[in-house]
Structures are given as structure tokens and as C-alpha cells.
């Protein structure tokens, strides 16, 4: 299982749909994608993790790095995730307080806070 990435825009938001496993081997691809988006001027990102099967601390690190990059441009990085096993990793690392986590892409796109 590798990592799959696709992007689309909804209004001023860029949706990054991630699938597969985010670990030490695949995380650099996600990092490149996020860096590229920010470099191209996309500062409001929604990372859709509904099709992520596995996430480890390397993946968390990349998401934190992405958040730092968009914040440098007054941007936002929102996550979409309903999977308990993935949410658990955010909870035990305290990152639920750092990332806005939504239950659907529509909800994330509509969010403005």
C-alpha cells in the first residue's frame, strides 16, 4: 500500500485527498505536496484523511510542518477524519488542540473560525 494524493479546489480552499499509509517512507511525498501548494499560493488547505489506513508520528510531523507554513501566510490547515484509530494518534500527542478536525470536507470548507 502506497500513498495516494490528489488535489482540487473549492472556493479559496484547496482539498488534499490522501489515501493509503503515511509513514517514514511515504511522508516525504505528502510534505512535497504541501510545500508545493504553499509555494504556489494555496494557503487554505483541507487535508482529507478519510482514506488513510495508517498514520504515524512522521506523518504528524509533516502535517505540523504544513500548518506552520500556511500560518506564515495567515492561512489555515484543516483535517477531515472520522476514523477512531487515526484520531487516537492526534489525541495522545495533544495535536487535537492544534488542528481543527472536521467530520466532512463540506464542514471543513464551510468553517471560518
Amino acid at each position: 500500500m502506497d500513498l495516494s494524493l490528489s488535489t482540487r479546489t473549492v472556493g479559496d480552499r484547496t482539498i488534499v485527498e490522501v489515501g493509503g499509509e503515511i509513514d517514514v517512507y511515504t511522508a516525504p511525498k505528502l510534505r512535497e505536496q504541501l510545500v508545493e501548494l504553499v509555494n504556489d499560493g494555496s494557503y487554505h488547505l483541507v487535508v482529507d484523511m478519510e482514506h488513510v489506513d495508517f498514520l504515524d508520528s512522521t506523518g504528524l510531523g509533516v502535517l505540523v510542518g504544513g500548518l506552520k507554513r500556511v500560518r506564515a501566510h495567515e492561512g489555515s490547515l484543516r483535517l477531515v477524519c472520522n476514523q477512531e484509530r487515526i484520531l487516537k494518534i492526534f489525541r495522545i500527542t495533544g495535536l487535537t488542540k492544534v488542528f481543527p478536525i472536521h467530520t466532512s470536507v463540506d464542514e471543513a470548507v464551510a468553517a471560518t473560525d
Binding site: M1, E21, D23, V24, Y25, R31, F54, D56, S57, T58, L60, G61, V62, V64, G65, K68, R85, I89, I92, T93, G94
Partner: protein, 177 residues
């Protein structure tokens, strides 16, 4: 001898293999299905950390994973051959308290904080990674995840290498009529 032993070259692409093997052996050993995700994540974190240490120290030796099935528990030991500096204190990482990470009493000296006074991410960065990526460092966050996930975990290290030991209870054999 361990039930299953795995040696793999310290490369990121092999960490997934270690996760799959560990989960398969854990399932066979009777670890609860609901806990297998934790086993998979914890062994992945331990192997990721070992790979990072070997790469950053230029260690050619493989990373060692021992999967041990005992009567009432299933244990995993992930060993690295990277030189760990003498340091004091228990496991630390990303502000998460070191759950269950007590100093060892097995002759390996006190459980050492890999980073010492260094910030998370300052260690375990593989060659070729730019300084800009250090803010996304995963070395210590990995230990934090393990500490948060696994109740029974022990980290020990000296100048010759380190070992992360983790264990989970296994379900008792079903009673036959």
C-alpha cells in the same frame, strides 16, 4: 530465542514490512484484535526511530526486531546499534509525559532520553534532510507516541546501541469442554 526475529536494512521502505510481520505474529500470539492497531503503530514508531538513528550515525548494521510470545504476554524488542550519548533522565518527547518509561535495572544503565537537552527533532534526522525539515522532526515524537500507546514499555541505551521493549497481554487459551 525469540519466537520470530527480523533483521532489516535501516531503510524507511522496510519499516512497513516490520509492522506487517509484527502484527501477524501478535495476532497469532493471541493479542486482542482491538489492540493490533496499537502494536502496529508502536513497532512502526520504534523501527522508524531505529532507522533514523542508524542513518544519522552512518551505521551499516541492520535494525533488529524480536517478537516474543510468552504464556501471558507478547513482547517486542526493537534494537539499534547507534551510539547513544551518556545522558540522564527518562524518556521525553513532545511534552507528553513518559508513561511507563522507568529507568531500567538490567545493567544497561538508566533509561536515556535520546535527545537529552536537545529539542525534539534535533536528532534522528537522516542525511540529506535539510535543516528546514527539522521542525518536522519525528524522532522524539515517535517515543512520545509509544509512551502514550503502550502501558508496558522500557527504553534503554548505551554507547553501543539501544533497545525499546514493549509488551501486551495475550488472551488466555479458550477452555475446551
Amino acid at each position: 530465542m525469540a519466537t520470530v526475529e527480523l533483521l532489516f536494512s535501516a531503510l524507511p521502505e522496510h519499516v512497513r514490512t516490520a509492522r506487517l510481520v509484527a502484527a501477524a505474529v501478535a495476532r497469532r500470539a493471541g493479542v486482542d484484535e482491538a489492540v493490533l492497531d496499537e502494536v502496529r503503530l508502536a513497532v512502526g514508531e520504534a523501527c522508524t526511530r531505529a532507522v533514523g538513528l542508524h542513518m544519522s550515525h552512518g551505521v551499516d548494521a541492520p535494525v533488529r526486531v524480536a517478537l516474543i510470545e510468552d504464556e501471558k504476554k507478547f513482547s517486542i524488542e526493537v534494537g539499534d546499534d547507534a551510539p547513544h550519548p551518556r545522558a540522564s533522565g527518562a524518556v521525553s518527547g513532545a511534552g507528553v509525559p513518559p508513561v511507563g518509561a522507568e529507568p531500567s535495572e538490567n545493567g544497561h544503565g538508566p533509561a536515556e532520553s535520546e535527545g537529552g537537552a536537545l529539542p525534539p527533532g534535533a536528532r534522528g534526522t537522516a542525511p540529506g534532510q535539510s535543516a528546514a525539515e527539522e521542525d518536522e522532526g519525528d524522532g522524539e515524537m515517535g517515543l512520545a507516541v509509544i509512551s502514550g500507546l503502550v502501558d508496558d514499555v522500557e527504553v534503554s541505551a548505551d554507547e553501543n546501541g539501544g533497545v525499546i521493549r514493549m509488551s501486551w497481554p495475550t488472551a488466555p487459551e479458550p477452555v475446551l469442554p
